[in-house]
Symmetry: C2
Subunit: 314 residues, 2 copies
């Protein structure tokens, strides 16, 4: 497969593994890159020196391109950026913040910069900021989520018609069918999170991986819309949030219930009742824990079947 | 284009016009059918004798297949069904209710029956009920909406993997790119609402049609999740709903604010502040009022370009 995204990153398949907190360390990122996709280390759950270790291990584990996902809201962001530059990382995906803040600095240093957005306005801001590509992520995605609730099906064509740089579709994609659908909508590649969260190389807790497999359609939901919306498995913790939200809980009450470290508790420590279990709607299609290589090979194989099916329709 | 849906209905293109309240009378349905899609009369906003008039006019206006969309929750449902049979309608799309209630009766009378669902469980119920096909409608769709918030991107492949009858994708589709994406996800056709709501032949008020054109991404939202969720343009009425919902309004308060006839007020009478303006997220891509024929021709032309683009990728 050849698209603007495979060319931009020098990869074989237009498949990017989302840089998820508590799931995407060097093992997952290097496994994806070694399987001809683009692996991303998720810096969001790493202290700066931990990030440095993961980058170093990733460099040892693959000679293929890989990148780092960097949420711009974290307090130690300048430390993170310093380490990314010192370690010679070539690709950064930034998210959760203003793309104008760091893009030109990172571009001057020779990095490729991609920013994640959930609406058309921020896609246009990304263009002004000079990013190389955009990830447009729909409402069905796991974890943090836009306020506008634009779904992948509607967001991708709207972003594609508003900008002329490559768009990577995210949210609700886990299979070859999803990849081809995203390409049809105008994307040049896909970012896949949930399916890799449940991979062999994911650093998530086994309990969380198994919870992903047993999640069916309708069993994730977006909570904390008055704070930062986040898509979660509907576990006991979610139900407690829902109960007070239905009664009109304000920001203070929600922050108190949320507390600190819920995502780590659920995803990394495997506490399925009290933790936040951040995963996408497409988890209903994920039924087996496979290696990153098996996942990518399967997506590529499936996409070939879908391309063929479409040829028969027209 | 040839799919199981074009074969099932004897139509040229796998494009079905959603049977929307206050938009889809005989003029729209016959125009779509005459343009080689499948037009549906929306019975949901029609008294029984009005429905009869629309069916009769539709039969006079086209010799192509057309159908009726019938929400099963309306009080005069038995009258509606009697008229559908008396007038010799061949295709019924039922929605908003249990597919087991009327399917076998309508099938015995020789009709083709399709039911609209928003989750996998109801898709399976549809198979047990013996329907000919399923419309699977995602969260991005306008108007009434499922509680699970499954988006089109995740709902279609999950429904397709759970059933072996043809699936029609709905929600977020307005263009050739959307059509091809839906086919890639496993659908055999699409149901398009919003784009036809803003067509020349739509019976919606001009004010509402113009409001659709000016709606951008993020400017629709689902309200009344404690009653029956419904996607609306964020107008003054929506903001009043949102305000009391944020404070934890209960079913009684919500029903009182909703009152009666809000959808007619907004969509048919053109009261843009106080009416319900039911439209989908994809309205951000709809920028011009065109005839049903222009819309279908454009979708078919665009889909050809997308098929070609995909061939170049692989």
């Amino acid at each position: 497969m050849k698209t603007k995204i495979t060319e931009l990153f020098g990869i074989k398949y237009p498949i990017i593994q989302g840089g998820m907190i508590w799931c995407s360390g060097w093992e997952l990122a290097s496994a994806v890159s070694n399987s001809a996709g683009l692996g991303l280390i998720g810096a969001g759950s790493m202290y700066p020196e931990i990030l440095r270790q993961h980058i170093q291990k990733c460099k040892n584990a693959t000679n293929k391109p890989f990148g780092v996902n960097l949420p711009l809201i974290y307090p130690q962001i300048n430390e993170h950026i310093k380490i990314i530059l010192e370690e010679g990382v070539k690709i950064v995906f930034t998210s959760a913040g203003n793309p104008k803040k760091y893009t030109s600095y990172l571009k001057e240093k020779g990095l490729k910069v991609v920013h994640v957005v959930a609406n058309v306005k921020f896609a246009q801001k990304c263009v002004e900021a000079g990013v190389d590509a955009i990830v447009a992520e729909g409402y069905e995605a796991g974890g943090h989520n836009g306020f506008e609730e634009n779904t992948t099906m509607t967001l991708i064509p709207q972003v594609c018609s508003a900008v002329d740089i490559p768009v990577i579709a995210a949210g609700g994609i886990a299979t070859g069918a999803g990849l081809v659908a995203a390409l049809a909508l105008g994307a040049e590649g896909v970012q896949i999170g949930s399916r890799f969260a449940a991979s062999v190389e994911s650093s998530a807790h086994e309990n969380f991986k198994n919870a992903i497999l047993s999640t069916k359609d309708g069993e994730t939901m977006v909570a904390f819309k008055k704070l930062i919306p986040v898509r979660l498995i509907k576990n006991d913790f979610y139900r407690r949030v829902k109960e007070i939200e239905d009664k009109g809980a304000d920001v203070e009450e929600l922050n108190e219930l949320l507390g600190k470290g819920r995502a780590k508790l659920g995803m990394f420590e495997g506490k399925l009742s009290e933790g936040e279990l951040e995963i996408g709607q497409i988890s209903g299609l994920i039924n087996e824990i496979k290696s990153a290589k098996e996942i990518i090979d399967e997506i590529v194989l499936e996409s070939g079947i879908v391309f063929e099916k479409l040829r028969k329709i027209k």
